[in-house]
Symmetry: C5
Subunit: 351 residues, 5 copies
Amino acid sequence: MKLVQKRSKKTGLPPGTLVHIGERRPDKTSLQVFHYNAGGCQEFQPSPMDQLSQPDDESVMWVNVGGVHHIEVLETLGKQFMLHPLLLEDVANTDQRPKLDDYESYVFVVMKMLSLTDRKEIAVEQVSLVLGRNYVISFQENGTDVFQPVRERLRGGKGRLRQSGADYLLYALVDAIVDQYFAVLEMMGERIEALQHTVVDDPKPETLNDIHALKRQLLFLRRAVWPLRDVMNNLSRSDCRFLHEPTKVFFRDVYDHVVQIVDTIETLREMVSASLDIYLSSVSYRLNAVMRVLTVITTIFMPLSFIASIYGMNFDYMPELRWPWGYPLVLAIMAAVGVAMLILFRKKRWL
Amino acid sequence: MKLVQKRSKKTGLPPGTLVHIGERRPDKTSLQVFHYNAGGCQEFQPSPMDQLSQPDDESVMWVNVGGVHHIEVLETLGKQFMLHPLLLEDVANTDQRPKLDDYESYVFVVMKMLSLTDRKEIAVEQVSLVLGRNYVISFQENGTDVFQPVRERLRGGKGRLRQSGADYLLYALVDAIVDQYFAVLEMMGERIEALQHTVVDDPKPETLNDIHALKRQLLFLRRAVWPLRDVMNNLSRSDCRFLHEPTKVFFRDVYDHVVQIVDTIETLREMVSASLDIYLSSVSYRLNAVMRVLTVITTIFMPLSFIASIYGMNFDYMPELRWPWGYPLVLAIMAAVGVAMLILFRKKRWL
Amino acid sequence: MKLVQKRSKKTGLPPGTLVHIGERRPDKTSLQVFHYNAGGCQEFQPSPMDQLSQPDDESVMWVNVGGVHHIEVLETLGKQFMLHPLLLEDVANTDQRPKLDDYESYVFVVMKMLSLTDRKEIAVEQVSLVLGRNYVISFQENGTDVFQPVRERLRGGKGRLRQSGADYLLYALVDAIVDQYFAVLEMMGERIEALQHTVVDDPKPETLNDIHALKRQLLFLRRAVWPLRDVMNNLSRSDCRFLHEPTKVFFRDVYDHVVQIVDTIETLREMVSASLDIYLSSVSYRLNAVMRVLTVITTIFMPLSFIASIYGMNFDYMPELRWPWGYPLVLAIMAAVGVAMLILFRKKRWL
Amino acid sequence: MKLVQKRSKKTGLPPGTLVHIGERRPDKTSLQVFHYNAGGCQEFQPSPMDQLSQPDDESVMWVNVGGVHHIEVLETLGKQFMLHPLLLEDVANTDQRPKLDDYESYVFVVMKMLSLTDRKEIAVEQVSLVLGRNYVISFQENGTDVFQPVRERLRGGKGRLRQSGADYLLYALVDAIVDQYFAVLEMMGERIEALQHTVVDDPKPETLNDIHALKRQLLFLRRAVWPLRDVMNNLSRSDCRFLHEPTKVFFRDVYDHVVQIVDTIETLREMVSASLDIYLSSVSYRLNAVMRVLTVITTIFMPLSFIASIYGMNFDYMPELRWPWGYPLVLAIMAAVGVAMLILFRKKRWL
Amino acid sequence: MKLVQKRSKKTGLPPGTLVHIGERRPDKTSLQVFHYNAGGCQEFQPSPMDQLSQPDDESVMWVNVGGVHHIEVLETLGKQFMLHPLLLEDVANTDQRPKLDDYESYVFVVMKMLSLTDRKEIAVEQVSLVLGRNYVISFQENGTDVFQPVRERLRGGKGRLRQSGADYLLYALVDAIVDQYFAVLEMMGERIEALQHTVVDDPKPETLNDIHALKRQLLFLRRAVWPLRDVMNNLSRSDCRFLHEPTKVFFRDVYDHVVQIVDTIETLREMVSASLDIYLSSVSYRLNAVMRVLTVITTIFMPLSFIASIYGMNFDYMPELRWPWGYPLVLAIMAAVGVAMLILFRKKRWL
């Protein structure tokens, strides 16, 4: 998760010029097409340059594009489905803010897809979705598979998915993405719970780095989710003719989920801030406690040394020095003073 | 109160699939039905699979469901009252944000019910309420009874409740829930008052944990109450045909209560923040005071030891060493210096 | 000023049940009625159970009720003027947020009346005002008299008050209450000015308590005044038929005052926050300065003691010990070292 | 700049009673009238009680009143121009928030006039402006002259001013006032730049007072300018019939200036806050550095004194004491230890 | 980047007076005109006083003015294109806030152009753009060339630019400016990434200055970009007749970019704040660690010196002094005590 994406290679180019922005990944661009209606579901993997077009009957076509760094593939698809150059530019640029653009003849949605890697790290990927009258095109930055359950439901043919139109497919894809957010939040929540114990029990300088890493991740999460609220709200109230009333109820449900996620992120942010406060106060308390103990030790020996140095003086007439019991007596006094101070400091809870 | 609910078992399932999210509790799902009108009130406890249906005369039916983890019960009720699958999904998922959904033929309200346990802890439970033309269905996460006063009023038959429609029953239930919030706030207020004395009089490291526990509880309270404001505002202005004008005045009253609660929570949050400030400054002041006292002690003995070490030197010609009154004189000087420093430091209020 | 009012005795009661919430005061409920028009002004004190009714000519009646803890009085008045049960409930509950409710046939305003006690403390009291076609009922929590000037103007008959309708009387009462806020703010302002000198000149641990007491008072003030802004704005734009155009100009003036008050409260809050910052930095600076002085003293004696301890060593061959001028020379060296360090530390401004 | 103005002498008076609030200044109230049209410009100084009235032809009259503490002058003018009593009350009360009131037959604007005194301090003065069909009345708290350039332009007769109506004169006056704000901001900006060097190079306890004085001034500035934004916006969109379309463009320009000023104030506030942070961290760093140096000195002498005290012991059998080279050897060891520690601490950058 | 621009020379001048505000640069004002349509593109550099006028056919004219400090040039152009005096005043004053003014017959846009100098510093320059029916006038503060790519595209004639109207040219210029913002952000992002390592690994007092310099730059960036959001939003929704529907889609794209930039700036600001926190805590931790080590050393020598001072006492009867093994025994005890304390402190991680 970089703070700012390298975008400078685009500077000065005319608008609509397709330039891939993001980390270039080695794998080929993969295309997968589902063509289905209530009756059946066809599935095939065209080569990128194959001729595709939106179905002219009531069946629905879903084109899933894995990888957006091959500009030619985007251009071919753009021509076949008559997509606006700015839309394609946004697809190729993986540093987009989630948004909803309504281009009369299709709707364009950009989202961030979050998932957990095997090492429990957060992977971010941009997904762009185009909804036409009876087709959906989904562009994934690379081929990570959070859409697998949707595919299974298409193949299985059970439930509402095959019976419904392209708008419901869009919903199914969006819902699959948003569902993943909960998994990420769960993991974050667990880490923060763990952190809250660490800052109290065993605060170390590294803990500070952990806190700031979490803070940063939550900042990125918020950036990915916050604009989604408006996107989902607009989808559920859109007067676009491809979005039917019954499907909007489902988008309202996704909207509720997103609001819930935003809420949770804010709560987690407050917990992390609180952890930072506890950490700082905890560390400072410990450092001070150490200093206090050390200073108490020094303070106890000061008067003892002073007594010893008195009897180290070389005056001719120091009668105590001649007493046979002088030495043990002084030792006893020293012990008494030392023990008295120890008791006093303990009582005052300074030690 | 967990930061983030485990929701991951739902990931990938088609929407409308009923999955209970929350802590699974052992007790059976209990159903209780009140069927009443101005004339009388029938009360019975059907088995979960019994046939129920909304009354077709002007009487009102209240179905109270205790426990939402038996998916079959929800499905049966859903079929009998023709509830939308997404609504049932929200009922089963106890990690909902308070909200109001208007499904044409019924209104759906989700709230958090707060109550105090015997050990003065806050128990949170989700309550989902469905208001139809002449029925109300209330789903409780488990069977804790804040609705008892409403039941008594139904049985007693006095007051406005039996004379009014289902909308007034909804109000009565919502009002009973919101009333509980005040009890919770009262308890929080008392704890914070106590805390404010603790941080001044006897700040300890554990106090910090108390402060953050209170902060966290207030955060959760706010999350539960904040969205309720919109819910109540919408109910009191709703143009839903089941909500009659006279009842809306009552919902406006609940709205006022919720605004008052939100206000109080914000005030409490500010008081807790102030307590944290006082705590930190108080602890730091005390630590510093201890260090100052210890350092003053050390500082007083430094010159005394120095005087002693002078007369511990072994020069052949140190006339003072030969004086008969040398020793007592030096002791007297030491005492004078020590007392002078003590007085000085006391006067400067350093000791 | 308690953080949260005890409200729990109301929990579970049906809505509209009158329960007094607040501190029960011993004195009787007092009623005072002014019945006036441009021509004259009648004044009498009915017993609480007397029959009262709104005048049917163009004269105006003002019923002032001192004390709201006698439920029966409220009920009697409620019947006589046909007031909504929820309105009476709000009157009896002295823990209301300022608000404006428009009940078709009358307007209901709740405000907080602030006044300064003889000991310069802030006294808070709830005032509920009902404006009907040609009557105003004012409920005071107890009988503190900020309405005295209004009474005098009614009796005197000069000015606009006797010539105008009930809406102008409402304005006069509201204006009298808001005028008191300025007195309270003046007092707060003076305290904060004083505080700002204290934190610089003589910060003590008690100062911290003063700061937080002021902070808390401002928090309560804000809670009392903030919602009043909307109330006054709504009054000045209301389309209620009892409020005549010329009177609305006066309510706009009160609105301006309230906005001014809110502004001033925010400024005072920022000044208090700044005082806290200065206090903390001032205290920490002083503590550190003390430690520095003490440590400087210790540091000066370290090398002196070291020199003395060298000549306290018992080597057989230490030629300096045999020199006749050895002792005074060493004393001179010690004095020189001590003075040099003193000068150095003074120059570096460490002492 | 007091936190809260004394307003209490007004408490309890009927609304519309003229009471001067502010510092009473000794000088007389001065009146100056300009009566002009495209053709010529008459200028005279009537006595306060002279008969004045709005011109009945298309010429424009500007009445400038210096000093608002003579209530009789305000009352006379109020009668002559038929001004609302509340308007006069606002003029007399110099503790107004900037605002725009539209009284059908005239528009009333209250602003704060800022200027720099010779000693570079900010002087605040309230200016109230009344715009009628063909007259402008300006009330100044005292006679400070920021309107001089406007007077010159009126006398000179060049430019748009004499050709235009009363609305353009109002604009010219408002613009003259707002222009002064930039001068004040420039001075503040320079002080803050200077402050930013001070906090790094030479932070002293007085610097803290400077920072808070600046903070307070910016707070007052913001209070004076913030509401002006709405005033100017409303003037530039007003549908008042005295404000002609071409003049509104000019008010929009003033609006832009005010927004710019608000922006700059916010930036300056952030810079002052940053300065406070740097100051605190800088002071704490310096204090700590001093303590560290002192402690290093103490730490270096500890082992040296220890070595000396070993050879101060009086054991019979301490062979080193008999060695002829014992003493110089021990001195050499001490020097070596001391130098080694010095080098070590220097290397670790502790000294 | 000065906090506040010197504007005082304008004070008191009549509105519409052209005064250059900003740093006066020595170079001459340069004019460059492109006159083009789909067919061809003419390019010439008129002398500032040449007669120019908007084309009366469908071709488009772009007048680029480098340098705004020659008032006469602005006046000449203002007459030729009939520009409002306030517009020219805004062009000459380089301390404008980004804004969009709609003057019926042309649209006026002010923006800040950011670019990176060779030394990686941010250069700010004001660009004012006037869009008429078929002309665009661009005023640059000085002649820095971010429009070069646009010129190349005009000369080349490829793409949409030559085919489209003046509105698309405006878009191309605005887009070129906004593209530069990303380059600046990238550089800032890299610096902040570097900073985040510095504060953990090697925090120095200078780091604090770096942090505050970054904070200040981000503050200025935000001031430049924040108002641009509204400008772009208004352009993309404007009902101005020079802006055609297809071009508005492009302005919406710029709007998206600006929102993205604002977002990124906020994120960077939070990262810088976090860096400050880490810096402070890191510095304080290090200082405290040093003090702890020094105090541990002192504490270890305290008991050792005490033991030595015991056997430095001069009592006649101290049997240990007579033992032949007394001296080595005491040395052994001292070593044991020292090592024990070392081990203890190490174990407690105090050393």
